[in-house]
Subunit: 357 residues, 2 copies
């Protein structure tokens, strides 16, 4: 057996699957998971599918102390004809390696990762829910495992993929949310880790998010770390504006996550003859457009919600109501088209969808 | 039994203790560790000393995905009379709670934490090495353990203390190092997590540190995230400059760690009639002082090295040689005084030392 061959250990007890529509996000996991190890002698080795179970780590494992870790998030969908579909999974594994590079983690062969994922999904195919707007959330991640308190890159890692069936992100259909424009806390700085999907980028936002939620906001809009002037991301989503007919999204300057939904929206709008301008956009420019009445739509984009319309932005005590708290035409059309392609209900002219055979 | 009483489970097999002078930093651990759990119903509960062993966590535990974690680092020293001494441990537990606040982790009673640590040290007292310049490194840390992929604060945590005997940081005596002034990568931004001891702050520096080491530097000097103009920290230490008789250290603006060695040095210099100016200091100002020949000493400060003299700063292709690569008079005196107080060889007029009874 070469180390590239996947071994499979089947779970002896299978869990009961949840009622498909009422699953809270990210708390129920399937019967199996994928694991693979890295050390400096063998490289990545021992790919295996094993029963979902706790993992055992030395208390000095570097993940607990210095945060050297990366992750991805994508979904498997059940088409009406029963097929299981993935949406641009190769982009997630490309981005995982980009994140790993930033965090000094050794890369993984991207094609092989996709093979491992597909093999895991074949084992767990009955866990992909079939009711409308549900899906199977896929979480690949790498943790540093060497037991060593000296600050520096780990010499051992574990790569894992776990799967979680998820209900509809918007059970009552998509609806616009209220967002606080954050001026005190910073998500990421130029030269930092903002472009990487790494753990520390997420918990660093909890304090700002808690304050914003207390004040009735769903999440925060992050501004740049240097001047608190330019718009970066909303919560853990990218953001788009439609102002006076122009669709604008912040350029990827290194502190913003290179969203795969973001990329797909840019390509989709382009194909509709609605080019997106990727550039710096300041919160002052947005406020100016609001006062002039030229701001037409604002929406966040990400794997979880696909499109999350923003109905209100709170900035320095000013309430900017967007499109009368209603879903914009472009937002709705993007949501319908992308979710339609993801579920195999609409044609896929871009070759985005990967179907399990 | 109240939940505040510590239970002790003794290890049946004791490890062989290492040769005291040749221990690499942070890879050998003692026979026992301290653990305590948190959940929203019981708060912090079940404090216990148990045999040092791997811990078991769900693969969805939040620590692996969103980096909600904090830690501390301090040392226990063996005095010549055999007593075990701690250096300002209450400051570490105060700072742990400050870090926890930033990361939305529930605080722990600081006095109780010190009691737990002392109890653990009593169990492990034979592990505190006695040869010159060795010590027992103490690592308290908190990890978020709830198995949940929804981004947000965990509802369960584990607090642990592990202990590691460490050899001399400078086996051949302290010696000046060469440091690269980093202009591309950023450690922390205003409004970020720079003032907290949290995992993500450390691995984010690996890429810059690897490049600097390849070019012959021991570590990097971080500049501010906004302008890359003002000096922040060196590696994971605070930094001091002596320029034309004035001792200067960067002010605590929120992106710099509030070092306990830093604080002690400021108090010690003050007591010697050498007040320290805490203010913004730009790399241009340092370079200017270098060209004018007024830069007298530069040194990093932290728990690991206490004082790490800097003999050379590399900035934009310019080599700034400090004090002819020699240890400065103030650096040496600070090192001798603080290590002398820590080991009970010198009088402790500040009441910094806590002795185990």
């Amino acid at each position: 057996m070469t180390t590239d061959q996947i071994s499979i250990t089947t779970a002896t007890h299978k869990k009961e699957k949840p009622s498909q529509d009422q699953v809270p996000f990210g708390t129920i996991f399937t019967d199996h998971m994928f694991m693979m190890n890295y050390d400096t002698n063998e490289g990545w080795h021992d790919p295996r599918i094993v029963p979902y179970a706790p993992i055992s780590l030395d208390p000095a494992a570097m993940i607990f102390h210095y945060g050297q870790t990366v992750f991805e998030g994508l979904k498997a969908y059940r088409a009406e004809d029963g097929r299981i579909l993935l949406f641009r999974p190769e982009k997630n594994f490309q981005r995982l390696n980009l994140s790993s590079d930033r965090l000094s983690i050794p890369p993984i062969d991207e094609e092989r990762m996709l093979e491992y994922l597909i093999k895991l999904l074949e084992v767990e195919k009955d866990w992909v829910p079939s009711t409308l707007k549900t899906s199977l959330y896929i979480r690949p991640f790498i943790i540093s495992t060497e037991p060593n308190l000296a600050v520096g890159p780990s010499r051992t890692y574990t790569f894992m993929i776990i799967l979680s069936p998820v209900g509809s992100y918007f059970p009552g259909g998509i609806r616009p949310v209220t967002i606080h424009v954050e001026e005190q806390f910073t998500r990421a700085a130029k030269g930092g880790t903002g472009m990487a999907k790494t753990a520390g980028n997420y918990s660093s936002g909890y304090q700002a998010q808690a304050i914003a939620k207390k004040e009735g906001n769903a999440d925060v809009l992050w501004l740049d770390g240097a001047e608190k002037k330019y718009i970066e991301e909303v919560g853990s989503m990218n953001i788009f504006f439609k102002i006076n007919g122009e669709i604008i999204t912040p350029a990827l300057t290194g502190s913003i996550l290179k969203g795969i939904t973001r990329m797909s929206i840019i390509e989709l709008l382009q194909s509709w003859g609605m080019p997106v301008t990727e550039r710096k956009i300041s919160i002052e420019e947005v406020y100016q457009a609001f006062t002039e009445g030229t701001i037409e739509e604002v929406f966040g984009t990400g794997t979880a919600a696909i499109i999350s319309p923003i109905g209100e932005l709170n900035w320095q005590g000013q309430k900017m109501i967007i499109n009368n708290h209603e879903i914009g035409e472009v937002s709705q059309k993007l949501y319908d088209t992308i979710t339609g392609i993801q579920r195999g209900q609409l044609e896929d002219p871009f070759g985005w969808v990967v179907a399990l055979s």
